[in-house]
Point group: C2
Chain length 221, copies 2
């Protein structure tokens, strides 16, 4: 039974790693669709989101089966519950990439972003994708050290996000209210994505090591 | 063992009901602090949020204990997992009320909202609080019928939220970009709160009846 538990837990971890790749690719494409007003890419992200939802449902079913058949206790139980939480956060990350893609589609062929704020989104997008890819690496390599940089990357996204507000609040913002509304929501989507990525990565460390790394008081909305 | 399971599940449900009341009150106060620029109320919501976090941790511990000691299967297992998800969503609802209160505090003594959009927030706040209170009622009365109106209430919040965007995007919006940014984020906080409330109420129906009501494709970020 212990053997079966570990085989099943490994399969569950593999599926969570695959979900991390899915949502990393979704955010990569969504960011490109946003920066380059690429409608095809936006459509791809939008139609691919159902796959992320399916993957989450499958992870949950695996976790349910594991709980029902193996009735794990103590750390093993917490590990399975961490996997369920991780699957939920990964699905949300997919939803946030979807929101970015929908914004790109809504304004197409106009670009959503005024030129002045494009670099901020390019950078937030890059870090967000990197965070999701690190999650996959933590699982594949079980190298917890690789995940150490996660929090500082997330802090970087928070800094950019905050800076974006000072740009928006500047009395000289010349791009109008509609653009400001888009930028506000998009900034929030990236900030939430990065935050979820950190929480997923931490839960993954728990799934592969059985130990939870120290938790900051991350916003978790 | 079945007896112990049901007693413990009932205690867990009671605690989730208490959390629903906490987050309903938080949103009620946060909305009043927003509408009346009431700093004291805002501070109260901000300092009370730690209690919601504690309540969530306690619910999770109860659920863990239930899983570890009773090893429920089939519907019983899904019920406990539904309770864990519900506790997570309730904590997020508390966070969203906290964000509203922080916005009120940030702009104090200035009002955050231009007069033109105050009625929208008054209404969204009222429905949001009502949704959270319905969740409590579902548990207390086990009256699933009472929860039937949830989805239409949530649709109402979505309608107001959408309408808010048409107000913002109007070329005549005379209140400047900073107010538009605040209104955009606040609108999103209410929309997310209502959405989480519906998902919690549905999970509660599952917790008290063992049956999941039909799920729409609610946004779930």
């Amino acid at each position: 039974m212990r053997e079966a538990y570990h085989v099943e837990l490994e399969q569950l971890a593999d599926n969570l790693a695959a979900m991390s790749v899915q949502v990393a690719e979704a955010m990569e494409r969504a960011t490109r669709s946003l920066l380059e007003a690429d409608l095809g890419l936006a459509e791809q992200v939008i139609s691919d989101d159902a796959k992320v939802d399916d993957a989450r449902a499958q992870c949950e079913e695996q976790a349910y089966a594991l709980l029902a058949l193996q009735a794990p206790v103590a750390t093993d139980l917490r590990t399975v519950l961490a996997a369920i939480h991780a699957a939920e956060s990964l699905e949300r990350m997919g939803d946030l990439a979807l929101h970015v893609a929908k914004a790109a589609r809504r304004r197409h062929p106009e670009p959503v972003l005024p030129d002045a704020v494009r670099p901020y989104f390019a950078e937030m997008g890059e870090i967000a994708v990197k965070l999701a890819r690190q999650t996959e690496q933590v699982i594949k390599t079980k190298d917890v050290e690789a995940a150490k940089t996660l929090e500082s990357d997330d802090d970087e996204v928070d800094d950019i996000h905050r800076h974006l507000f000072t740009v928006l609040m500047d009395r000289e913002w010349p791009h109008g209210v509609a653009a400001a509304v888009d930028v506000t929501l998009l900034g929030r989507f990236y900030e939430r994505y990065a935050d979820h990525a950190v929480s997923v990565a931490k839960r993954m460390i728990f799934v592969v090591t059985g130990k939870m790394p120290g938790y900051g008081s991350n916003e978790d909305v």
